[in-house]
């Protein structure tokens, strides 16, 4: 066991949005921080759909809007139910925007750079194997037999939280707690993107699609526009996917890209990148029992801080803000002289007061509803069918009620449809 050069106040495990935001905030307040990242560069192991909500980040980084690698501000929001090549779409357009598209590897790289400029040391290519403890108190980390000591450790290791598992702080990750995201990045002319999606320069689109887009697996598809690329991807709930999957998820995604209407929308596009990542889906139900112990704070995906509402996903802002709150906690605990659990418990309090836990609590019911297979197959079929009856007029057209009655025949009852819709509306 080697003892390492230098002495640090804080070790942060992982240079994603959560880890870097913690490191940045701490460094700015004079703490000596080292961030240890397994990837080749900060952000190189991060992957997400494509959109970030801005406000929380502007609070953490004062120069955020001016400096961050923002691609397009999302001004067009679309939600579609798709069956075959038919789409029933709800669209919201506003000249104001609270979210933007970005490449997460670049955004996370920018955050790490801010942390570095503020004085944090970022060490890449190194895996953290374990926490280092003395008398049950976390006092640093272990990596390849080296021990790096610090007063407090911030665990920002991400959704695959092997360190927390090894330490018995969380049980093994279950398939029902996560979803698999797969995504392709397709290069397309800037002008073509703007023409085809009805966008002005620097305006962006966020598009969620449910229906038969995921090869019958519970989940949904998404599309985001960057400046000169489009991200097309899908998220499938892992537990159901494990049981039902017939072919590779990247093949299902390729089927989607090469079928109508996406084959037309993305015509002349060149596939430049693809990737996959697990995403936490169980929110508070997968959070560690305690988000802090003696000498340790858990932030970001590792804490389960991600909210999937079905029509949008929030992860990066939750992660970054939890890192920011962890930093505030450490600053406060430092002023009190130690980093025992009772001093770090203020982290829980800050989280509860913040939008993170309030949002996760408010939308707690949605996670369960989102995975009901009716939502992904039966209802899109019914609604698209109704729309077809209403809009494809040759000589006569039915009334709305008539077409609904006809479309639900053999699938569900009108009453159960209404009840289900109401419960969905209430959960949202």
């Amino acid at each position: 066991m080697l003892n390492i050069v230098g002495k640090f106040d804080v070790v942060v495990v992982g240079a994603g949005p959560a880890g870097s935001s913690a490191a940045y905030t701490l460094s700015k307040n004079g703490f000596k921080v080292v961030v240890i990242e397994r990837g080749r560069t900060a952000g190189s192991k991060n992957l997400y759909g494509g959109r970030v909500y801005s406000k929380p980040l502007e609070e953490i980084y004062p120069e955020f809007k001016r400096e961050a690698p923002i691609e397009r501000w999302v001004k067009r929001e679309r939600f579609s139910m798709m069956v075959g090549g038919e789409l029933l779409t709800l669209e919201y357009y506003s000249r104001n925007s609270t979210s933007f598209t970005a490449y997460l590897s670049r955004l996370a790289g920018w955050m790490a750079q801010k942390a570095e400029e503020a004085g944090a040391i970022i060490v890449t290519d190194v895996r953290v194997d374990d926490l280092y403890t003395e008398d049950g108190i976390v006092k640093g980390i272990v990596s390849g037999g080296d021990v790096l000591k610090a007063d407090v450790v911030v665990d920002a290791e991400g959704v695959n939280r092997l360190i927390l598992e090894r330490h018995g702080l969380v049980p093994k990750l279950l398939p029902r707690q996560v979803a698999l995201g797969v995504k392709e990045t397709i290069r397309l002319d800037k002008q073509k993107i703007e023409d085809r999606f009805g966008l002005l320069p620097e305006e962006g689109l966020a598009w969620f699609i449910i229906g038969n887009v995921t090869g019958g697996l519970p989940g949904g598809a998404f599309l985001y526009t960057n400046t000169t690329t489009v991200s097309l991807g899908m998220v499938v709930f892992l537990e159901e996917a494990c049981k039902k999957v017939q072919k590779h998820v990247f093949d299902i995604l390729e089927d989607l890209r090469t079928s109508q209407p996406f084959s037309d929308i993305l015509k002349d596009g060149v596939l430049v990148e693809y990737g996959a990542h697990l995403t936490p889906e169980a929110g508070l139900d997968m959070a560690p029992k305690k988000l802090y112990t003696d000498g340790l704070l858990v932030v970001g995906d590792a804490a389960g801080f991600l909210l999937n509402l079905g029509y949008t996903v929030r992860g990066v802002d939750f992660a970054a803000y939890s890192g920011y709150l962890a930093a505030k906690t450490i600053i406060k605990a430092h002023s009190e002289g130690n980093f025992k659990a009772e001093n770090l418990s203020v982290y829980q309090k800050l989280l509860e007061e913040s939008f993170i836990i309030r949002e996760l609590r408010r939308h707690r019911k949605i996670a369960k509803l989102l995975r009901s297979s009716e939502l992904f197959t039966t209802y899109p079929e019914i609604f698209v069918d109704v729309a077809r009856k209403l809009f494809n007029i040759e000589y006569t057209s039915p009334t709305l009620l008539q077409s609904i009655r006809e479309s639900i025949k053999g699938k569900t009852s009108l009453l159960s449809l209404i009840v289900k819709m109401l419960s969905l509306v209430r959960a949202l």
């Binding site: 080697l2 390492i4 050069v5 230098g6 080292v34 240890i36 080749r40 560069t41 190189s44 040391i121 970022i122 060490v123 890449t124 290519d125 190194v126 895996r127 990596s143 390849g144 080296d146 790096l148 093949d251 390729e254 430049v272 990148e273």
Partner: protein, 267 residues
């Protein structure tokens, strides 16, 4: 006594994710993250193993733009003693002749050395020239495709694997060996070393001020190689066909038929 070793490493675009510009036929390097040439990691690993066995020092050198700093920091994270980045605008545009000349001149400044260890080629150009050319400039013996090495009685015993036999060559020091791809498992980066790199910034940077090489022999001017033409090969879209049956003979026939449909010729 130990062995004083010098390992040359190249900073290359990650060709696994690189695209070819369809009009110019050249690699599109913009936005493509670079990596240390994977073959060179085998060279570094062999050097570190030899150091563990016989003592001595390992110095890594690279001629590259300033961004290659990250690559040498990676190598230092593996545990080399010293790293030198040779970087200067006047070295830009070099072919293998100008590159090997520059490297050889830098290596001369590192005398006395016993063993030079190179990766046998790079993934971005695959010429396998550099080791041989550097050895030629330095007038020392060299050997390629080395999988392992011993050091006895002042000689290097270089083992290389051919198709049906293993050859062992005895070379006097100083000499150069070019290491075969995947001949060993490069070690992971060590936290202690990488942290020291970050805290102490030990990377040395040499420009032509240090080397004082004639402009006629370096960079674009010192490079006689010209690429006549580059023709991109067409990308073949996935057909996504799958043989669903069980019978192996049927499957082979099905596959051959499909390939014949694609224009395969059986001679």
């Amino acid at each position: 006594m130990g062995l004083n070793m010098i390992v040359a490493v190249k900073w290359v675009p990650n060709t696994q994710i690189v695209n070819i510009d369809p009009t110019t036929g050249t690699l599109i390097r913009e936005g493509i993250p670079s990596i240390v040439n994977p073959h060179d990691l085998n060279a570094v690993e062999l050097a570190l193993r030899l150091k563990e066995k016989y003592g001595g020092t390992v110095t890594a050198i690279s001629m590259a733009p300033p961004a290659a700093r990250a690559g040498l920091e990676f190598i230092m994270g593996m545990g080399v003693d010293r790293a030198i980045l040779i970087t200067d605008k006047v070295f830009a545009g070099a072919d293998t002749l100008a590159t090997s000349y520059t490297l050889a001149k830098a290596i001369e400044k590192l005398k006395p050395y016993d063993l030079l260890i190179f990766g046998h080629e790079t993934i971005d150009s695959s010429t396998a020239h550099i080791g041989a050319q550097v050895a030629s400039w330095l007038k020392i013996p060299y050997i390629y495709y080395v999988i392992d090495t011993e050091y006895r009685d002042g000689y290097i015993f270089a083992k290389r694997r051919l198709e049906k036999k293993i050859e062992i060559y005895k070379l006097p020091i100083p000499c150069l060996i070019a290491v075969a791809m995947r001949s060993n498992e490069p070690r992971p980066i060590k936290l202690e070393y990488k942290l020291r790199v970050k805290l102490e910034n030990p990377l040395e940077v040499w420009t032509n001020n240090e080397l004082q090489l004639s402009r006629a022999c370096i960079g674009l001017r010192g490079s006689p190689t010209r690429v006549e033409k580059a023709v991109p090969t067409p990308t073949i879209p996935r057909k996504k066909m799958k043989y669903e049956g069980q019978d192996v003979k049927e499957a082979v026939k099905w596959l051959v038929d499909k390939l014949l449909e694609e224009g395969l010729k059986i001679i």
